[in-house]
Amino acid sequence: MKVLVAVKRVVDYNVKVRVKADNSGVDLANVKMSMNPFCEIAVEEAVRLKEKGVATEIVVVSIGPTNAQEQLRTALALGADRAILVESADELNSLAVAKLLNAVVAKEQPQLVILGKQAIDSDNNQTGQMLAALSGYAQGTFASKVEVSGDKVAVTREIDGGLQTVSLNLPAVVTTDLRLNEPRYASLPNIMKAKKKPLEVLTPDALGVSTASTTKTIKVEAPAARSAGIKVKSVAELVEKLKNEAKVI
């Protein structure tokens, strides 16, 4: 079966972002950009499904600026077969991204779509669920285990109180949680090979999708800073402070 994986180019998770002085956003000039960590897990899961003989073709798609091609090449080096970039210089909301992905889904007709559960920049945790709604597919979010059998997929989900397993009819949308797998690194020969794999560039207009939004960001601020307190010398002093100064025990 065909598996579609969506990936997002985001600021690298090791970068400590700073808010711009004019409060218009965070400063992304000259910072390292990478594939969103949850998307790496999504790519890895698709590659494992192919290695198990469940998936026959992996198509990786990204919605983003021209240089999101770097992240698509990374996914190709990890084992995806071909890539699609829906190019948009604007920062799009989750609904617009879901609409664009839905147009790609309509074109590609995958049996399984795998996405990260959230991007570490906007922290929205929306796109997979929205794509499932628009495509009419079942959804298995926050997956820690994915097992395809016949025309169904069993997804074990990380929920607040523990784990939940649901069975979904295919085609379905799955979003990855941290413990689904540990992504591999791309080998140098595979990175070289990835340069020759096909990468198609589309536009929202060509897909006939409007990316208009009903929300706007008015300002972005640094969070209230928490200052370091004091070091205590002993457990006894700590207990005394908690009882008499902080009054929390």
Binding site: F142, G161, G162, Q164, V166
Partner: protein, 309 residues
Amino acid sequence: MTILVIAEHDNATLAPATLNTIAAAQKIGGDINVLVAGAGASAVADAAANVAGVAKVLVADNAAYAHQLPENIAPLVVELAGGYSHILAAATSNGKNILPRVAALLDVDQISEIVSVESADTFKRPIYAGNAIATVQSSASVKVITVRATGFDPVAAEGGSAAVEAVSAAHDAGKSSFVGEELAKSDRPELTAAKIVVSGGRGMQNGDNFKHLYALADKLGAAVGASRAAVDAGFVPNDMQVGQTGKIVAPQLYIAVGISGAIQHLAGMKDSKVIVAINKDEEAPIFQVADYGLVADLFEAIPELEKLV
């Protein structure tokens, strides 16, 4: 304006996060209706009707809603959406699962995990793991919002007397089914609702050593959490994870034991009122946010702390 709050529950009890979500709805202003979608959930409906400030409780009782499958619940919420200015749910694993599906079906953007209400259409929410706070304004006809519970003090669970109304709509998409669940059983308070949280990190060395934290937690009436490092190492199950991708907590007292303090962990606990860090590495970043830091071997400090509190 009338606001619909989707109740978080397990068919038996109303989850505390619903009370924080109703508090957010009160800040927006207007009549508040609560939707209880479940199976055999009349006790939840009664509890919701007792909550201060609730005008009406809608109960959709159907086997298809028993396990909160989003394929079934989302069309129900969409059917009820007409006439509401806002639809709110707690940013729990259920709320996060269901509400974006609702928003997409309504063709509106969702605003995730608000921590403050500036006005009826303007909200604050953390982005970049809490390293920035965005103020966003929505022009959507229906504003679909998830609420981070720690941003709002809960309303009183008693004092209301809302009318309870049955909703007959049955939606069974037939696309998904519930197979089973493994829920952690614990006599300790729930992590996100506890007044005191004791969390362990990689410094605990193994899962067995968490018994020291459990003993301390039981003495304090606290919940026990963990850093991602401790969960990834297999010391404790994933539902104990505090952090950007785990649970967000803001207790009166947070005691971080053997946790270095990666930004992803800080994102999950830095709104705690008082933070205590116990770590043998005095350079650990956790000390930069701790009100009280103790540089010590946790295996000596924790038993001593348990004796003294």
